[in-house]
Symmetry: D2
Subunit: 257 residues, 4 copies
C-alpha cells in the first residue's frame, strides 16, 4: 500500500511518503496505531485536487488526501484502555487543542486550533497506517462494515445538524440539496423524530436516491416543481418547522429565510 499524494493542483501520485512514517514512528501514551482499511472521497478532496485550495487553505506542498476513514487497531499506547489490537474502528478527522476554550465549551469541532486531516498543512488519511488519539477513535459494532464506518464522518455532519436544529418528534423539515450531505441530513432528521422531510435538488438522479431511502422523504425537483406550494398544501398552509441548507448556494440560503 502507498499514500495518495496531491503533489500540486491536479497532480496526484500514489507513492511512499517517508516523512509521515518518521513523524509517526513513536506512539504517545494516549494514541493508537491504525491500519487503514477504507477511505471515503469527500467533495473537499476533489476541490483541493481541482483548485489547489479551499478558502484560506492552500496546497503549497505535497499533501496526502482523505479524511473519512476506517481501519483496524494494530498497536495501542501505554494508557489506552478502551481499545485493543485487532479492534475495528473509525476515526474523527479533526483533533482539537484539548486546552482550548472551544474544547472547554464542548465546541471542539470549531476549535480554531483544530488539526484536520487533509487540510493544509495537515496530511490526510489515504495512506497505509496512522497514529491517532484514543479519544477520537471509535470501536465499531460487529454489524457495521468498514465501508459504512468510513461514512460515519459525513453522517455525523447530518446528525450534528439535526441535533443543533432541536428537531422535535413530529416536525416536518426541508433539506435543500440531495448530495451526500443533504441525504445524511435527511436521514438524521428522520432519526431525530421528523415525520416528513422534503428534499430538493435540480438533479433527478439524486432525488431518486433520496426518495428510495425512506417513505417519509418527499423528493422535490426544484426545476419542475414548486417546493413552497407542495409544503403548504401538505401542511394546511402551515409550512415546515426546520430547514437545512445543504447546497452552499447563496440563493438557497435566502430561500431558507
Amino acid at each position: 500500500m502507498k499514500s495518495l499524494v496531491l503533489e500540486k493542483k491536479q497532480a496526484l501520485s500514489l507513492r511512499d511518503f517517508p516523512a509521515i512514517d518518521k513523524a509517526e514512528e513513536t506512539l504517545a501514551p494516549h494514541d493508537v496505531r491504525i491500519k487503514i482499511h477504507t477511505v471515503g472521497i469527500c467533495g473537499s478532496d476533489v476541490h483541493y485536487y481541482t483548485h489547489g485550495h479551499i478558502a484560506p487553505f492552500v496546497v503549497n506542498a505535497p499533501m496526502i488526501l482523505g479524511h473519512e476513514a476506517s481501519g483496524t487497531v494494530i498497536e495501542v499506547g501505554t494508557v489506552v484502555t478502551s481499545l485493543k489490537e485487532g479492534d475495528r474502528v473509525c476515526m474523527e478527522p479533526g483533533i482539537p487543542d484539548p486546552s482550548s476554550k472551544a474544547t472547554r465549551l464542548g465546541l471542539y469541532n470549531i476549535d480554531p486550533a483544530v488539526r484536520f486531516w487533509a487540510t493544509p498543512p495537515v496530511h490526510g488519511i489515504l495512506r497505509p497506517t496512522c497514529v491517532h488519539p484514543e479519544a477520537f477513535t471509535f470501536k465499531l459494532p460487529d454489524n457495521v462494515s468498514f465501508a459504512e464506518a468510513a461514512m460515519v464522518e459525513p453522517l455525523a455532519v447530518g446528525v450534528h445538524a439535526a441535533t443543533k436544529a432541536r428537531v422535535r418528534p413530529g416536525d416536518n423539515a426541508v433539506v435543500l440539496g440531495a448530495g451526500p450531505i443533504g441525504l445524511v441530513t435527511a436521514l438524521a432528521a428522520l432519526a431525530a423524530g421528523c415525520a416528513r422531510v422534503y428534499v430538493t435538488d435540480l438533479a433527478q438522479r439524486k432525488l431518486d436516491i433520496a426518495g428510495s431511502l425512506s417513505p417519509a422523504i418527499v423528493p422535490v425537483n426544484a426545476q419542475s416543481e414548486n417546493l413552497v406550494d407542495i409544503v403548504l398544501s401538505h401542511t394546511d398552509g402551515w409550512g415546515v418547522d426546520v430547514v437545512f441548507e445543504a447546497t452552499g448556494f447563496p440563493p438557497c440560503c435566502q430561500s431558507c429565510l
Copy 2:
C-alpha cells in the same frame, strides 16, 4: 347508547343524562358535534370511582366519566372549515381559556382555567355524543382505527414528555414504570431519537409487554435486577442522558436525581 355516570364513590350507572343533552342542544359557530365511538379508561377514571376525588377535585354530584375518545363528526358549526360531517376524529379532552396567559404562552395544557373532561364539575365523554371546539378536534388518517385514536390522548403525554426532555438523536433514556404512560413515553422517546430506552417496573408482566414493543427497549425488573449496574455497564460508565419518571412513587423521583 347511554352515558356512564359515576353517581358517587363506587356507584356507577349506565343511564340517560338529559342535563348534558340540553347543555349541548345548540352548536356554536366554531364547534362540531361528534358521535362517540371508542373511549379509553384512564387511571384517573378508576381513581374517581374508587376514591371519589383526586387531590382538590371532589365528585359532589353525578359525573359522566371518560376523557380518551374518538368518534365521527355528525354536525359542524357555521365557521368550521377543517372538518365536515362523516370525518373520523379524536379529541383533546381539555379546553383552555383562549384569552388566558397560559394560552398566549403556548402552555394551554397548564391553563388554570382549563375545562377538562371527567374532572369535577366537568362531565366526561362516556356518552352518545358531544359538542367540541373544532380547534381541539383532529381528523384521523385512514390507517388509524377508532381504538388507536382513543389512545392518542395518553400517547400525547409521552410525546410531550419526550419533547420537553429535548431528546437528541442517539441519547439513551430510562423510563421508570411500565404502565401505559411509561410505555407510551418509551415509544415517544424512541420516536424522538433515543438509541436505547431502559424501562423498569416491579411487574414482570408489564416488562414483557415493554420488551415486545421494540428491540431498542431494555426491560429491567427493579426487584431482581440493578438498573444502575446495567446502565453503567452498557454505557462504559457514562449513564443515560434522560430519565422519565412514570410511577408517581416518591422514591422513584429521588432515584432520578
Copy 3:
C-alpha cells in the same frame, strides 16, 4: 381629536372616520374601550405613506395609520376582570385567531390569520378611541409614562429576539443596525445577560445614541472601523456568541453567517 388617515399613497388627512366608530359601537364581553393617549410612528407607517404598500399588503382604500399605542380604559366588557375604567394601558397591535394552530403552539405572533393594526385592510390606532381584547391590553405600572408605554411594542421586538436567541449570562453579541429596533435589541440583549453588545451602523449620529445607552454597548462605525477585527481583539480571537440582524440589508445578513 380626529383620526390620521392615509387616503392613498402620500396623501394624509386628519379627519373623522365614522366607519370605525360604527364598527366599534358595541363592546363584546371580553373587550375594553380605550381612549388613546400616545401613538408611536413606525417605519412601516412611513413606508405605507411613501410607497402605498409593503410586500403583499396594498393600501387600496383609506386606512388609519399607527400601531404603537398607549391610553386609558374608559369602558370594560361584561366578563373583563383584569382591567377597570381609568387604568392606564398599552396594547398589543396584532390579534390572532384564538383557535389557530399558531395560537395553540404559542406562536400567535406569526398566526397567518392575525389582524394587525395599520396593515391593510385593518385600520390602525391614530384615532380617538379603540375597542380591544382584554387579553392583549396590559395595565401600566405607575412609573411607566404614556410615551414609554407606546414604545413597548417595538421594545418587545428586541425582547423577543433576545429570548429566541437564548442569550446566556456573559455572552457577547453583535447587533447590526442602530435604528430603533437595533437599539431595543441591544438593550434587551443586555437585560437577557449579555456582558457586551457591539452595535454597528453607518450613521455616527445613531451610534452616539447607542453608546450613550450603556457602558456595555460598544458602537462600531461600519464605514471607518472593522467590526471583525475589533471583536476578535476584544475576545482573544473567539468572536461573539450571538448576532442580531436589524438592518434588513442583505449583505448584512450574509455577514452574520
Copy 4:
C-alpha cells in the same frame, strides 16, 4: 506561609507539606505556577473537618483543604501564551481528563475522572503555591480584588445554574435557601434576566443579606410567611417560571415540584 492540613477528622495543623512541593517541582509546558493570595472556606471544607468524609470520599491520609482561590502567576510553562509572570488570577478547582467523553461533550465539570482540589485523595489549595494548567487559570480584570476572585468558584455555581435553567428576560424565579450558593444563584438569575427573585430561608439574618443585594430580590421567611401565597398574589395566580433548590433538604426538593 504554611499549608492548612486536615490531619484527620477534627484535627487541623498549619505546617509545611514537603510531598506536594516535590510533586510540583517541575512545570509542564501548559502549566503555570501561582503564589496563592486568598482562599475561601467552603461548606465542604468544614464538612471534611467535622465528619472526615463526604459521600464516598473519605479522608484516610492528611489532606490540604481549600478549593476557592486567587493568586499571582510566578512562573509559566514553555507553551503558555495567555498568562505571564505577575498576572493576578483565579483558578478552576477541578481538572478533568482532557480525553474523556465528558470533556468532548462540553460537560467536563461532571467528568468522573476529574481531579478536584480538597477531595480525597487530591490536595487542596490552602498552601503557599500551586502548579495549575493554563486552561483553568483565568486572568483577573483590574477591578476585581483577590477576595472577590476567590469567590468566583462559588459564583460560577450560580451562573451555571441560571444558564442551565435557560432563564429568559422577565422571568420570575424562586431560590430555596439563602446560604452562599442561594445568594450567588439569586444574583446570577438576575444577571440572566430575571425580573424578580424570591429567596426563602428559615434564618432571618440570611434573608436580610439577600434583601440587601437588590431591590429585585424578595426575601421570604419560610417560618413566618407563605411562599406560595406571596408568589401567586404577586403574579396574578401564575406562579414563577424557574425554581432553584439551594438547601439540599429533601422536603424543599419536593416543594419545587
